[in-house]
Each structure stands twice: as structure tokens, then as C-alpha cells.
Point group: C2
Chain length 230, copies 2
């Protein structure tokens, strides 16, 4: 069994857990406090970022896209119609564009900021940057959510899954990001029917179950978080 | 011939140009003002980011890593010992980690900020965010350069090329970032002999020549910028 260093409220870590879940492969989880810069962890990844996968031979693989490409090369190619990636270079490029959209762009404009202010800062020691949330940062992140919802709604309304006719990494990356925001009660699903229908489909998959039981200290999820008919 | 929408001082765009150069393939360049959010450009890439490659069939490919993976799948696999990627999944993961290090981490901690403050703001209209550079942002970015130089010096002192025995995407990503910083005179090479020796080797390659003749309006490069024996 491989080991993942993760944080339960980081979209990129949730994405990797979903991929393992879809491929039916067990994964040992080690929760890492990303602000602690633990020495043993830094020897695995000098950048101190999450996720890090200890792959075959305990080689650390750093970052969601690096891990996803590795898993496709070592698992996905053998999965036939259950492969979470496409065969053709153009279709692969589209899936990669969407992984990057949700795990880099959405993260940098929305997710990461809300997680830092609402989840991490209240439990971080003051000397590591903990303390009261910055309401300006929260407001700025919230102002950006709508654009990402609209874009997802457009994709979900145009295609069966976000990157085309099949479930791919793109859906798992997007759902990972939205599941974090949904936990925090930051998403108004009513205005985005196509996105909601798509998210319900992803959320109903067995791979999603472990994410729906995640809880963070001192912060309960919004009431519909684990509800499959929200 | 394919077309690249780029900015001459963006590391990720330089990286793509270096890859085309190494593969001996001509590339049409269209310089894009990233702050202008030109309508025709946004139809190619709703995120408005650079680089964007118009690939076969004029399909837009967004982002340096997406483009690099596409070029490997459509060109690299045929290049034998001139391939800029490795064969094995682990070696590929290491190359991807380093692309991400230089084009995301170094960019987010150093390069992007110095380019914004020193290159873009002086020529941007005030209503798009132009104006005087923010000296605090410049100071913060400069404080981070040393760590990236030290890490590169360690890699270059341990391996022949940054990801191992052969020239790969990792070298081109790192050299793209350093070439931008070097243009701006932000690098003190004297303290980092191994990094300097490595950079001299990359800089001497024919693929690098077009980058050494790049000039941006109102800002000349540091005197040794195009000097192969600096």
C-alpha cells in the first residue's frame, strides 16, 4: 500500500485520494500540518508542499499533477474503459488544462485562501501565522467563486462529464475543489443547475465516500455536505 | 508552423520557445500584453494566461506543462536520445517536479513579481494596474532568490544536468526562469559556481540564441546577459 502525506481540506490532496478510490487501490494517509515544516517531511519534499505520495520504492512524488501523471503511466494505461485519462494527445491536453484550472487557478483565486483563513489560521500557532481570519482575504476569495461556478456550469451543461463523454481526472480535480468549498458552505448551488447535477453524480460515487466523512477540528461542515440529494 | 501567444519576459513562455528550439521546429510568435485581456485572446483561453500554443488544427493548448506534455506525446517520443523527457515513470516524475518547481514555485516566489514590478507596471496603463513599482514586493521577491539559487547549485553540483545524466525539460524550465532574472540583473552568479557552470552550458545551446536577443521596451539587459563567458 502506498502512503499519501495530505491535509483533508486541500483540494489537491482530495484529488489524489479520489483517483486511488476510483482505481480501487488502498492508500495509507498521513495528515501533515503544512505550516509546521516538519523536518522529516521536508527531507521528502524540500518545497514543503502537499500532497506528497510515497510511491514504489518509497520515492516521494510531489504535487497532484506529477502524481496523476505517474498513476496514469503505472495504473491508468491498464484500466481500459475505467482509465481516468484519454488516449489522444488533444483530449489529454484538455484534461490537463482542467486539472490545472481547478487545482491551480481556482485554488489560487478561491479555495486556498478560504481554507487558510477559515480552517488553518484558527488552529495555527501565532508564531506560524495563526490568528484571526483576514476578512478582506475572505471577501476577495468569495467574490471569485461565482466565475468558477459559472464556468463549471457551462462545461457541465455542454458535456456529459467536464472534459467530454467519460469521467476523467478533470471531474475529480473539480469535485475535489468544490467539495472543500461545499464543506465550508461557500457554494450556492441553486443558481447553477448543470453544475449541481454533475456534482451530485460525482459525489454519489463510492470513491467520494471517505471525503464525505472528513471532519476538521472546530469546524463542522454545512448541513447538506454529505447529503447525496442536496 | 505552430503559433505561440507569449510574452518575452515570462519564464513559462521562454520554456516553450526553448523546447521548440531544441526540437528544431519553427514557431510563429505573437506577443500578448497579458493585462490587456484582448477579446480574441480570451476566446482562446478564458483564463487569459500565457503561454497559449495554437497546436495542430488551431486547437489552443494552455499553459507550459500542458504544452510540454503534448509536445512529448507528439514529438518527443520520436526523438530518441534527443528526447527532452525520460522513459521511466520515476524519472518522468522527477522531471515534472522540477518543471513545477521552476515555473510555479520559483515563479510565484520570485520571477513573476520582479517581472510585474520592473517590466510590466512601467508600461501598463494606470487603469490596468500600471504605475510605480512596489518596492516592498521587489524586496520580498529578491529575498527569495537565494534559496532557489542554492537549490539549483546543489542540483547542478550533484547531477550532470538538473534531472540526471541528460538534458531534459527540467533544464529548460530552470534556464527559462534564470534567463528572465539574469536579464534583470537579479542574479549574483559568483556564489554559485555549479549553477553558473550549468547555466553556461544551457545558454550556449543554439536553442537559447533567440532568447538572448530579446529586448523589452525601456529596459536594457544587464551587460553580461548575452555573454556566453560571463
Amino acid at each position: 500500500m502506498l502512503t499519501l502525506f495530505h491535509h483533508p481540506m486541500f483540494a489537491a490532496c482530495r484529488f489524489v485520494r479520489l483517483v486511488f478510490g476510483e482505481y480501487g487501490e488502498d492508500l495509507a494517509l498521513i495528515e501533515e500540518k503544512p505550516w509546521a515544516r516538519r523536518k522529516e517531511f521536508l527531507t521528502l519534499n524540500a518545497a514543503g508542499t502537499l500532497p506528497v505520495l510515497l510511491a514504489e520504492g518509497d520515492t516521494p512524488l510531489v504535487g497532484a499533477t506529477v502524481i496523476a501523471e505517474y498513476l496514469d503511466e503505472t495504473r491508468g494505461v491498464l484500466k481500459r474503459e475505467r482509465r481516468l485519462f484519454a488516449e489522444g494527445p488533444m483530449e489529454r491536453a484538455e484534461i490537463r488544462r482542467l486539472i490545472d484550472w481547478y487545482l491551480t487557478k481556482t485554488d489560487g483565486e478561491v479555495t486556498r485562501h478560504l481554507v487558510r483563513e477559515r480552517v488553518l489560521k484558527p488552529v495555527m500557532p501565532a508564531e506560524d501565522g495563526g490568528g484571526s481570519p483576514d476578512s478582506g482575504a475572505i471577501r476577495a476569495a468569495r467574490a471569485n467563486i461565482r466565475q468558477h461556478m459559472k464556468y463549471t456550469n457551462w462545461l457541465a451543461g455542454t458535456r456529459h462529464w467536464l472534459a467530454g463523454p467519460r469521467l476523467t481526472y478533470a471531474d475529480l480535480a473539480a469535485a475535489a475543489a468544490f467539495s472543500v468549498l461545499d464543506y465550508l458552505g461557500e457554494i450556492d448551488w441553486r443558481e447553477h443547475a448543470a453544475a449541481r447535477e454533475w456534482y451530485t453524480r460525482v459525489k454519489s460515487r463510492p470513491s467520494f465516500r471517505p471525503l464525505l466523512t472528513d471532519r476538521v477540528r472546530g469546524l463542522s461542515p454545512v448541513s447538506h455536505y454529505a447529503d447525496l440529494d442536496f
